[in-house]
């Protein structure tokens, strides 16, 4: 008979749970779920060695273990600290943690441009959520925000270095998911920046996953750039037969148009495992090239947390009212105006454009009409 593993008992915010030895406090808290879970900007469970950089997951350890119940003197990063038997952790019940987290958010926002109205990540941005909960209304920073020279990361990925919070997730992705790594972090301190070595475009088959991994809008999809806001698109689970990846993706649709393809995300905003149990990274072909509805087999609408802005206008379990006017009258009612004949909006087939729409596209449209 296999030897039974000894489980560690941890108490996080007065909730006790038994976890396997070697689990980090963050993962133990995720097993409990809900408000108890500390936020994480840099830790990513699917990426080895990630975490320990952003300091948003700081927690207070009120008692180290049963053997040594002294509290830890400083707040610890929960993604990098493993649980001990009898550990008592305070997250939202500790004022010190809340205070520290407010400070961390203020630091993260020092150089962040807060151009959410322009940013394509708005609506699914972890920094937005975090600053909504912990941020201050105004900045106390009096100096100029740092700026960078523009780097071109090829035709598919858009880099906005000013938005970067240096979480290193994309560097680990490039290192671990794709076979060769061609981008890393240059310089140090305030000057650190993500860059491709020797201006080489990233041409690996799985490099598109850096977009999903990025917690802010520093790396975004160029094929979706400025096409629509996230909350006006409809997330749909779909799959296809792909020889490179699992083909299990999430489509972001507007009407019958596929505007964006991403990997499926779990409740922590991380890439979900596929039905076969592997991490659900998707390949560049699926992400950037398959923008036709005929490329995909639709499985159904994605479950979205109803507190998310993405769920606005999406109704679950609605029964559409049965139109009886035509049946009673014997003909369809006369429309005094069909808005689609009059409106000039939504005339461009956005899914057919490779990049963002520009004034050129709209000029051509005028000639066409």
């Amino acid at each position: 008979m296999a030897e039974e593993k000894k489980l560690f008992k941890v108490t996080i915010d007065n909730i006790t749970i038994e976890v396997e030895p070697g689990t980090s406090i963050l993962n133990a808290a995720r097993q409990i779920g809900g408000d108890v879970t500390p936020p994480a900007m840099c830790y990513y469970s699917k990426l080895k060695d990630s975490g320990g950089k952003c300091r948003t997951c700081l927690v207070e350890v009120a008692a180290g273990s049963t053997a040594d119940p002294r509290p830890m003197p400083k707040l610890v990063a929960s993604c990098r600290t493993n649980v001990m038997d009898g550990m008592v952790v305070k997250n939202i019940t500790s004022d010190r943690v809340t205070d520290a987290r407010n400070g961390v958010v203020e630091f993260l926002l020092i150089n962040h441009p807060l151009d959410c109205p322009i940013c394509d990540q708005a609506g699914e941005c972890h920094l937005q959520d975090l600053s909504y909960e912990h941020g201050k209304g105004a900045s106390r920073y009096e100096f100029k925000r740092r700026t960078f020279d523009k780097h071109d990361l090829g035709p598919y990925i858009q880099l906005h270095m000013t938005r970067c919070i240096l979480c290193y997730r994309c560097v680990y992705t490039a290192d671990q998911v794709s076979n060769e790594r061609r981008h890393g972090i240059l310089s140090r301190g305030d000057h650190s920046e993500i860059a491709t070595y020797i201006e080489k475009s990233l041409d690996n088959d799985f490099i598109g996953n850096v977009i999903d991994v990025c917690p802010v809008g520093a790396l975004t999809d160029k094929t979706f750039r400025f096409k629509n806001r996230v909350w006006f698109t409809k997330p749909v689970d779909a799959h296809c037969n792909c020889d490179k990846c699992s083909g299990e993706v999430q489509l972001w649709m507007r009407g019958d148009e596929v505007l964006r393809v991403t990997a499926r995300k779990d409740e922590w905003g991380e890439v979900k495992d596929t039905t076969k149990g592997e991490p659900g990274w998707i390949c560049n072909t699926c992400r950037f090239e398959r923008k036709k509805i005929s490329d995909w087999v639709i499985e159904g609408p994605t479950q979205i947390n109803r507190h998310s802005v993405i769920s606005q206008g999406h109704y679950v379990g609605v029964k559409k009212p049965n139109e009886t006017v035509a049946k009673v009258m014997g003909r369809n009612p006369k429309l005094l105006m069909d808005i689609k004949d009059v409106s000039e909006v939504n005339q461009v087939e956005l899914s057919e454009l490779k990049g963002p729409a520009t004034s050129q596209v709209f000029k051509q449209l005028k000639k066409g009409n």
Partner: protein, 187 residues
């Protein structure tokens, strides 16, 4: 069945002499009529005269420009998501090099439409706007014969250029700056 105690018995007595000659009643009526000549008029001579608007009046929308004449709107979609009547739609586009004098940010609204038939003039779009771009002014949506003309595009909404047409710009802006200053004061 009696519902209330306010029912009045109709007086069917024959008229007396004063009532029969009608003159006192006529004079009494004329008195009321003539007294109105000296009272304040309830009407105004529209359109020569207009009534002052309440400071919180919400009329037709404008899309604002900054002092250099660049459009403020970045097509962030917050007005559209705030709109309870779903009257606002837009298409975003990327600013090309050389268009910096037209649009303030790297993204802008290439098309912007407000369906004035749907709009309920609640002002939530103005409240939601992070870029100081949409404002409700002190003008009514004018009447029209066709429904099509109530779909307001950018040609109807964008404020005149402050440098090329400063008079029209200040007129279109109306009381916006005063309102803004007041709101800031209250903060």
């Amino acid at each position: 069945m009696q519902l209330t105690n306010r029912a009045k018995q109709v007086d069917r007595k024959p008229l007396n002499i004063a009532e029969k000659i009608y003159l006192p009643a006529v004079l009494k009526g004329m008195g009321i009529t003539l007294s109105h000549i000296f009272k304040k008029k309830a009407t105004i001579k529209f359109p020569e005269e207009t009534r002052p608007f309440s400071p919180v009046f919400r009329g037709l929308h404008i899309l604002n420009r900054d002092e250099e004449g660049r459009e403020n709107c970045t097509a962030c979609g917050l007005c559209a998501v705030a709109c309870p009547a779903e009257a606002i739609t837009m298409d975003a586009a990327e600013r090309l090099p050389g268009e910096e004098h037209l649009y303030r940010e790297e993204k802008y609204a290439a098309k912007y439409e407000i369906n004035m038939l749907r709009c309920i003039f609640c002002g939530l779009c103005e409240e939601a706007c992070p870029k100081d771009a949409i404002y409700l002014t002190e003008t009514f949506a004018p009447a029209n014969y066709s429904r099509q003309s109530f779909i307001y595009g950018k040609d109807n909404l964008v404020i005149p250029h402050p440098k090329e047409n400063p008079e029209a710009f200040t007129k279109a802006k109306g009381l916006i700056d005063e309102r803004k200053a007041k709101a800031n004061q209250e903060k």
